[in-house]
Amino acid sequence: MNIQFRESSEAASPLTAKTAIADCDIHPARATRTELYPYLAKRWQHHLEIYGVHAYQGMMEGPPYPKAQPNASRRDAYPPEGGPQGSSLSLMQKQLLDPNNVQLGVLNPLNTGQGIRNHELSAALCSAINDWQIDKWTSRDKRLKASIVVGNEDGLSAAAEIRERAGDKNFVQVLLLSRNVEPLGQRRYWPIYQAAEEAGLPVGVHAFGFGGNPITPSGWPSYYIEEMVGHSQCQQSALASLVLEGVFERFPKLKMVMIEAGFGWAPSLAWRLDKVWQRLRSEVPHVKRPPSEYIREQVWWTTQPMEDPERREDLFDIIDWIGWDRLLFATDYPHWDYDEPSRVLPAGVSEANRAAFYLGNAQKLYGLA
């Protein structure tokens, strides 16, 4: 009794002291290998048992670059009831949502139907994961919102999935990954942008994915750290493709969110695009304005993993160049490189900027203000 009393009183004081935040990158996991089966036709259950997912990479199970931690996740995030990290709503509430006063948590499921060579299976798995997000997560905790996961390589079926979910308040964005068979600006992906724009949903591009291309333009590197750092180069190339193919020009209401690839690279990429566009714009007449303008108007960034300068205040220059209204706080729970909300921003941020960074920008973008 005494112990319980002390625990709850201790928990209450930081709770009331903490301002509400949004966490724009949470990774929910399945507790068991077959947890999606209730949402899949018998045909696909059999298929998975016999052939597996047949991704654009060689491993039947697990990633080609072994992670630094099991499931790339915190060792303290294993649920007491069993299953991998991120698979328990009650532990997520206890570790993440309650103590940090998360008012809006955006779910980005990974290891879904994306990056799979059989596009029919890809569509079936994505649809299943979307149903599962509602049943297991958003219907049980109103703070959580889901992302519409789509079969990324088949634009038409992806668009159909978006249209089916459009208007369902459980979902706040469409989810893509940065690494696909082609750069994301290519026409095969345009039906996704068109459907998202029509539905008024931002498209999140999360680091990772498999498209068969080496993660450097010089072939496959050796180490996990190279893949991790490389996600920001993939994201830069994907964003450059979106700009240069004219996706933002063609879909002016489209909003894109760059998730878990850092943001320190954004000013430099925009400057470089502008400078080169001045010279080479005759090759891309469909890009009508300086690339930095499209980026400034139509792109947002989640914060984690925040770049870590030696002098932490140097980060303010980068954020000033991007715009304080464009960053969305994220922890990446339950992954090991989790950013702790109370520690990520150096001192010296105005109250208005702090509020926008932690909550306001996300509420506005996701229409939950």
């Binding site: 994301l184 291309n213 333009p217 010089s218 750290i225 190279e226 190339s237 695009l273 870590d308």
Partner: protein
């Protein structure tokens, strides 16, 4: 405008091979025969289409022939007008694109001999880079050792996008040879196109390839650092050429963060990535990829926390600036001196 000073070193100029036939005198009978019998055509890389605006400044573009093929033009456009003491020639002829290591080796050898005879012999201010057939480490080393006997070669030249990441151990004998012979290793923009030019596949446009060079340099820095090249060869200097500079600090902040997180994976990396870059890696000034305002430039150089990272370059004849405005607004006279003279000499010990 920061003022140029006389006696500077231009670390990135591009003499152009007029045509594959220009190399015939430098090939042996067998390869001369191969070129003619098989009807081989000029080796021009997609990285720099001859008529692309980026490939030559309008006022540096000759009426006939390729930009950069005339020594007299180069003298008039940069060597004289910038009052240079030295300019380092980095030929971008597309020899890296062929797939046969034998053919690549023959073309590299011819290209290096051509450079010595048709450029270095004709202007005492010119220095050379040794282009190597990277598909064969053995042949690369033989070519480096052969050319290095000529003291005017100050650097080994590789493309930023080749067959493998540059830190891979198989390439280390090249770095061992360069360090031993006091040659810097220059990594230049451009692709052999043996892999898609971005890590997310083939883009549609030339502009996309060019923008993507910066990402390629980033992945190569990661590879070189985490594989342990500079732990093994601490005196080796590498120069990122035509890489851009505004991405350097944010990129290193990210690499540093992950290195702290997963350094158990690469325990031989015994110094922080930021320190390794400050001691071993340099970047050419052009293209200077930041807005033309002094305040931004001051912040960018302040983020680097070093005045030794950047080396002067015009990137002749590529179009990166107009007139004599090679130095961006806001550099102090001390920094100009470091960039134009001190840093290049500290990077290239053979530059005498």
């Amino acid at each position: 405008m920061a003022s140029l000073i006389a006696g500077g070193v231009d670390c990135d100029v591009h003499p152009a091979v007029p045509h594959l036939t220009s190399l015939l005198p430098y090939l042996n009978d067998y390869w001369r025969d191969q070129v003619t019998t098989r009807g081989m055509v000029d080796l021009v890389s997609q990285s720099y289409p001859q008529n692309s605006p980026i490939t030559a400044r309008p006022d540096w573009r000759p009426e006939n022939g390729k930009p950069g093929e005339s020594l007299e033009d180069m003298q008039r456009h940069v060597l004289d007008s910038f009052q240079l003491s030295y300019a380092i020639c980095n030929p971008l002829y597309g020899v890296q694109m062929v797939f046969s290591e034998d053919m690549q080796a023959a073309f590299c050898r011819a290209l290096n001999d051509w450079l010595a005879k048709e450029w270095l012999d004709r202007d005492a201010r010119l220095r050379g880079s040794i282009v190597i057939p990277t598909q064969s480490v053995e042949k690369s080393i033989a070519e480096i050792e052969r050319c290095a006997q000529d003291k005017r070669f100050v650097q080994v030249l590789m493309l930023v996008m080749g067959d493998t990441p540059l830190g891979k151990r198989a390439l280390w004998p090249i770095y061992e040879t360069a360090e031993r012979l006091e040659l810097a290793v220059g990594i230049h923009a451009g692709s052999a196109y043996h892999n898609p030019p971005t890590a997310v596949g083939w883009g549609s446009y030339h502009i996309e390839d060019y923008v993507g060079q910066a990402q390629a340099f980033q992945t190569q820095l990661t590879s070189l650092i985490v594989e342990g090249v500079f732990a093994k060869y601490p005196r080796l200097k590498m120069v990122m050429l035509e890489s851009g500079v505004s991405w350097i600090s944010p990129f290193l902040w990210r690499l540093h963060k992950f290195w702290r997180g997963v350094r158990m994976e690469t325990p031989w990396v015994d110094r922080a990535p930021l320190e390794i870059v400050r001691s071993n890696i340099r970047f050419s000034l052009q293209p200077f990829d930041a807005p033309p305002d002094e305040a931004t430039l001051i912040r960018l150089f302040d983020h680097m926390q070093s005045d030794e990272l950047v080396l002067f370059s015009t990137d002749y004849p590529h179009w990166q600036f107009d007139g004599l405005d090679a130095l961006p607004e806001g550099l102090s006279p001390d920094l100009v001196r470091k960039i134009m003279i001190d840093n290049p000499h500290a990077t290239y010990p053979r530059l005498t």
